[in-house]
């Protein structure tokens, strides 16, 4: 039985190895220093054990050289630790641009993942091996945290905001997926599995199951139903700016600032349109705050993104699954 006790987690992403390397470095340095200190303490305690009741210690009160040494050396070691950790963090924080997108909505107590092609899964996440995958996440209630130990990544998932993380799975298999931020009664049950598949299997998996509309298609329907196009006329002749090509493009605001239209900006524009007004337009757009839920907003954004490609309004999912184009 003892033989089955795992002592080290499985390593299944390009990052896990890097994280483990740093871990072993930290472990080595700490073990070395700790053991050194323990040994010194043990040796001193035994060697200088009091032999007579009236014995006193040697009159030593310090040494500047030693003080400098044990200030500077730990400092240098610490800076190495910092730099290494920071570099790794930098990698974790910057997904490659062609990463495949998956959207995740968290709620008490489940994870709901939407693939752009429309497949929705609950407490499961299927991804292809050796592909960069970026998760864009938001929560409908409290703070959660998506944690995949085998990939050595986690990120908090906040309400009213998008957070993201990315990974490249390196080994097919099934791995734990946990919620790591305490979120209420069933926090411990808010987990499931990540399944890493060979690309072909993944394509197969994507096409199986009751396939609903792709995210873009759903977005297009919402765009229609909520009459967005009434104002946002394609050629920009309405009261509202054309949304053609808006994603990723610079937008000038009435405040004079110029910002880039990214996911968070689009989301804000839909849910809280008055926060940032496009220069030259009036704050006429109604808020869709209590009308659309987070999944629908994600679908609308996915749709608006395709408009930026200058594509016709109806796009199929498969084209999107490789946004690298």
């Amino acid at each position: 039985m003892i033989a089955d006790v795992p002592l080290f987690p499985e390593s299944a992403s390009h990052l896990s190895e890097q994280t483990d390397n740093l871990f072993w470095f930290l472990f080595g340095v700490s073990a070395f220093i700790s053991v050194l200190i323990f040994l010194l303490i043990a040796v001193f305690a035994i060697k200088y054990h009091r032999r007579a009741p009236n014995e006193i210690g040697a009159p030593i009160s310090g040494s500047l050289k030693l003080e400098i040494a044990w200030t500077v050396i730990p400092f240098v070691i610490a800076m190495i630790m910092f730099a290494w950790g920071a570099r790794l963090f930098f990698n974790m924080a910057h997904p490659p641009p062609q990463a495949m997108q998956i959207f995740v909505v968290a709620k008490q107590w489940m994870w709901k993942a939407q693939h752009p092609e429309g497949r929705i899964e609950i407490n499961e996440l299927h991804v292809p091996v050796n592909r960069d995958v970026m998760l864009t996440m938001t929560s409908q209630d409290v703070i959660h945290d998506l944690f995949i130990p085998a990939f050595r990544i986690k990120a908090d998932v906040l309400p009213n905001r998008y957070t993201s993380m990315w990974f490249r799975a390196s080994k097919p298999g099934r791995y734990h997926l946990f919620c790591a931020e305490y979120c209420g009664t069933n926090h411990a049950l808010m987990g499931g599995w990540v399944t890493v598949m060979e690309p072909a299997d993944f394509e197969d998996w994507l096409s199986r199951g009751e396939r609903g509309r792709s995210m873009v298609e759903s977005g297009a329907v919402l765009f229609q139903n909520y009459k967005c196009a009434n104002c946002h006329v394609e050629d920009g002749s309405g009261h509202a700016p054309s949304l053609m090509g808006v994603y990723g493009a610079p937008v000038r605001l009435t405040t004079g600032q110029t910002i880039t239209a990214d996911d968070a900006y689009l989301r804000e524009s839909i849910l809280n349109p008055r926060a940032k007004i496009v220069a030259g337009y009036r704050p006429e757009m109604p808020s869709f705050q209590r009308i659309l839920n987070e999944e629908q907003v994600l679908q609308l954004i996915a749709y608006i993104k395709t408009m930026s490609a200058g594509k016709p309004l109806q796009t199929t999912g498969s084209e999107l699954s490789n946004p690298a184009r």
């Binding site: 809280n272 349109p273 008055r274 926060a275 109604p286 808020s287 705050q289």
Partner: protein, 215 residues
């Protein structure tokens, strides 16, 4: 000092040490107050940073002129308080009582004006969590302004009320002639507190009343 034998506590060497300790203690207490108000001010600052337009719109509900007048009232009370301390240093009993009374009155005036402003906000239905309506889609963010408005002015007013109560006690004791040039630490320390409360308001005034008022 024969006038105030009761004033020296037995664990101190002398009155000077005692006064030194008391003054230092008071200043440290004021620093904790700085951090206490600092917490709300930080909360206010982030909220304002995240919702600038809503804060500007919402601040129009507060009349800057009334705010300015109230600031003036408080500054006058600070002057009378400073003069009260001055009088206590010189052992002038009558002026001390007079200045303390004036400070209390001015403090009450300030609180009265504050009460008027608050009741006004209630009439205008801008009390988050109780009765809130704000025109336009920014209502949610504007509520944040009012939340902070009430939290900050409320906390400040609470300090004022405590200050007035303390000054009330001082007034009675001063009347009885308990304070002498040798022993008047309570007057000085209360003065420090009162001025501190004044300073808080000096900051609250521009922060709450003067946001983009030309907009």
């Amino acid at each position: 000092m024969s006038e105030a034998p009761y004033a020296l506590q037995e664990h101190f060497r002398d009155l000077e040490q005692q006064k030194d300790a008391a003054t230092l203690g008071m200043w440290i207490f004021l620093v904790t107050e700085v951090m206490f108000f600092g917490g709300v001010m930080l909360s206010y600052s982030t909220a304002r940073y995240l919702h600038p337009a809503a804060f500007a719109a919402a601040s129009h509900y507060s009349d800057p002129l009334i705010g300015a007048i109230n600031t003036a009232v408080l500054i006058c009370s600070s002057l009378t308080m400073a003069l009260a301390v001055h009088a206590s240093q010189l052992g002038e009993r009558k002026p001390l009582v007079g200045y303390l009374a004036a400070t209390i009155v001015l403090g009450c005036v300030f609180l009265a004006v504050k009460a008027y402003e608050w009741s006004h906000k209630f009439h205008e239905h801008v009390v988050p969590g109780y009765d809130f309506s704000f025109p336009g889609p920014e209502a949610r963010s504007a509520a944040l302004y009012f939340t902070h408005y009430f939290a900050m002015t409320g906390l400040h007013a609470l300090h004022m009320v405590i200050g007035v109560a303390v000054l009330g006690v001082l007034l009675v004791r001063a009347w009885k002639g308990r304070y002498t040039p040798a022993y008047h630490t309570p007057v000085e320390l209360s003065g420090l507190y009162w001025h501190f409360v004044d300073i808080v308001w000096i900051f609250l005034y521009p922060l709450l009343y003067l946001i983009d008022i030309h907009r």
